[in-house]
Amino acid sequence: MKRIRILICCVMMMAMCVSLGACTSQDSGGTGEAKTTLTTARSKDIGDLNGHLYAGDMAAQGMVFDTLVENTADGPKAALAESWDISKDGTVYTFHLRKGVNFTDGQPFNAEAVKANIDAVQRNPEKHAWISLSKKIKSVDIVDDNTVNIVLSEPYYPILTELGLLRPYCMMSPATFINGETKDGVSAFVGTGPYKLTEHVQNQYATFVSNDEYWGGEPKIKTVTFKVLPAGQTAQLALQNGEIDFLYSNYSDAMLDSETLKSMGTNKDYQIVYSEPCATRFLMVNASKPETIIADKNIKEAIWYGINKEELSSEILSGLETPAETLFPSTAPYCDVKLKERTFDTAKAKKLIEASGWKMESGSEYYTKNGEKLSVRIEYRTDVAGVKGICEYLQSNLKDIGIELVLTGEEKSAYYDRRKTGDYDLLIDATWGVPYDPQSTMSAFSAPSSYLTSTQNLENSQEMFDWIDQALVSTDEVKRQELYTKVLNKIQDDACFIPLTDVQVIAVAPKDLKNITFNQSQYEIPFEKMYFE
């Protein structure tokens, strides 16, 4: 029959196309002149860049807006504020502002602008309840044109770090406020940052042009374009095709999978730049329901012992993430503390499970107790690339120690609903990273809808929350360290967060893009420092 012959022909043609494609070599275009434009890709639109709210893309907000101080590895440094003095009792901070700085709409940056910004943030307290500073600011007083006092209700040591967080205390041009407010939106996104937003076509691209009067020096890359591309293969192809020339991945917006990154590392046309480990992937363990299997500390510990983090890191994640033993990396402030280690040990894990009365029936794969199977659920976010594979790997790990792990992938909002209501056994999450670690993350321990479902009902939970509160207002460095050490030990011993790996920001670009660096926060990328050769 002819139809059969045609069928065979078609299949052969397809096979040829595929093999031809596999064989043709990669060609790369090298242009002579130094480029001054850069195109990058994000999987989501930059959104509403209003820096006093939380909807926008932080990398884009970081390009447009500046903060009073900048968080660096060596602590807070001067940014829009050149220097600051602290009153003796630690409640008044006097900021001396950088002179001659203008917003990109021509408005001057001065004490009045600072007051307008901070007051606007303070007038929307519900949204900023997570950041303790918002509860401590009593008033913002203008001293003179370039000096401003921030008065606190009580001493609060992380003030500089939290003022250095892009959101919510970044400085936007007061001329863009609507009736002096920012909580219902602003008329334009104007800051003092190295770039200004010139064009934004929703769900397609956003173009940023350099601010030539930038106080930190004129950026060498004159135009930065954010294109919206689906993460994964589309972005990879666009990079290989030269349509984009910079890609970066962090935990919440992983643009590239580990395997592709690894192969690009061996390609001589590309470079891969890694940041310091800046956040930790971990499993949140539900403690809000004492009657569940997972509330048993032995089971928590068994899971911890049962996860082969070495193999997870080297094979599944292609060595791009390093195994983590603690919730916060030892490089985070106050976190260089020796804590109990639980290295991969299946025998120990099984012993712990058996200690809780679980038995392995002959011929069955999982432990049982009174006819109930040792089964634990894990929920992951489908919009975060890579976590699905990690969960699948954990499933096979835990199967080896006789625990059944049931996977559910969910949308962001359903996932957060679970986190808040405690309707879960395990959640795979990541810390916000420095500069939020440890103080902001720890204050979220006691916040319902953040980490409370993992930290409540432990022995002395309330005491731990008190330690955290005390540490935040303590003025004594030694005392503070002591309190933090107690908290760190507590969460480590109780295994309410099971650390997996340390995550980095990873950037891929053609070889000729130079000076790719990272900010301390995993969410911002300093485009202004890059240049093409």
């Binding site: 909807a55 962001k412 909002s413 319902p448």
Partner: protein, 309 residues
């Protein structure tokens, strides 16, 4: 004729109410709490009970169901589909450019599909039963059975990355249309071309053809007549092609990063951005309905026999 058209157009009104009601009911059946989604989407790290209550009143979600429906319908008629939970922008502002892009792609697809299927339909009907007919049919048959996302991905990989001829994704110049249109229209072509071919073949047996041929009318003219008569059945199908393609672009848009409705809808599903999904359903169902009526009217104009029925 005029009565028929008016009657047909008037059916839009009850259809609109039914469609809008179903779209509205669906969103209210959804198990997730809109307030929580809104707050979460705005990145508020800690959601408190007071904040939820406040937002609920602000959005008017504390009112009874029917009141909300009437309010919503009133807004919809004024092209106000509410605000996106995630971006806080008006849904209309987000949907309208996406609608434009999807429309462009659907139109390009329709044009290519129609031209391709007419061309192939005529050729295959002429050489019916021969190698070219069987070959084309089998080829299109197999192509239309391949998952579009698979061909799409392979096509990007081959044409954009390996040969570096076309852009991988997104919109911009006409070159961006080539791959998605090619992948999509070739799939749809399988269906339409068979329709044209079959109705051409049916017409070939009609008496007027036999008569014309026996009178010695040139073959070219005969084919023209056959074509004109057989295209009628296809016209209604072609009218449905545009909305059908608008709905069918979802996967292709996601593969080619086309900023259209399908992509917006899928990302809204992931974000639980219900107002956008609602508007998407409403708009597509309405345009489906409109094109359906349009198709009926065109058929009626072309074929007076059907008007009485």
């Amino acid at each position: 004729m005029r009565n028929y058209i008016i009657r047909r157009i008037l059916t839009i009104i009850p259809m609109f109410f039914i469609i809008s009601f179903i779209s509205f009911v669906l969103i209210n059946l959804s198990p997730s709490d809109p307030v929580e989604i809104i707050l979460r989407a705005n990145g508020v790290p800690v959601v408190t009970e007071e904040l939820i209550e406040e937002t609920k009143i602000e959005l008017g979600l504390d009112q009874p169901f029917l009141v909300r429906y009437v309010n919503w319908l009133n807004d919809v008629i004024h092209l106000d589909f509410g605000k996106s939970y995630v971006t806080q922008q008006p849904v209309f502002k987000m949907i309208s450019p996406a609608f434009g892009y999807t429309m462009q792609l659907a139109l390009a697809n329709t044009v290519v599909t129609i031209m391709l299927s007419i061309f192939l339909g005529i050729i295959c009907a002429q050489f019916e039963g021969r190698m070219i007919d069987r070959g084309t049919r089998s080829f299109l048959f197999i192509i239309s059975a391949m998952p579009a996302f698979w061909i799409g991905t392979l096509a990007i990989w081959f044409f954009s990355v390996k040969l570096n001829l076309l852009p991988t994704s997104g919109v911009g110049s006409w070159t961006n249309f080539v791959l998605p249109t090619m992948v999509m229209s070739i799939g749809y072509c399988g269906f339409y071309f068979r329709m044209i071919r079959n109705s051409m073949l049916e017409n070939m047996n009609e008496n007027y053809v036999v008569y014309a041929r026996s009178c010695g009318v040139k073959e070219k003219v005969v084919v023209k007549h056959i074509f004109r008569n057989s295209i009628q059945t296809a016209v209604a199908a072609f009218c449905m092609a545009i909305p059908g393609m608008m709905a069918g672009t979802v996967v292709i848009e996601n593969v080619f990063a086309w900023p259209g409705l399908g992509r917006l809808c899928v990302s809204s599903i992931f974000n639980r951005d219900l107002p956008i999904i609602q508007a998407y359903v409403l708009i597509l169902a309405l345009s489906y309905c409109l094109f359906n009526i349009f198709g009926d009217i065109v058929t009626a104009v072309l074929n007076p026999k059907l008007r009485k029925a």
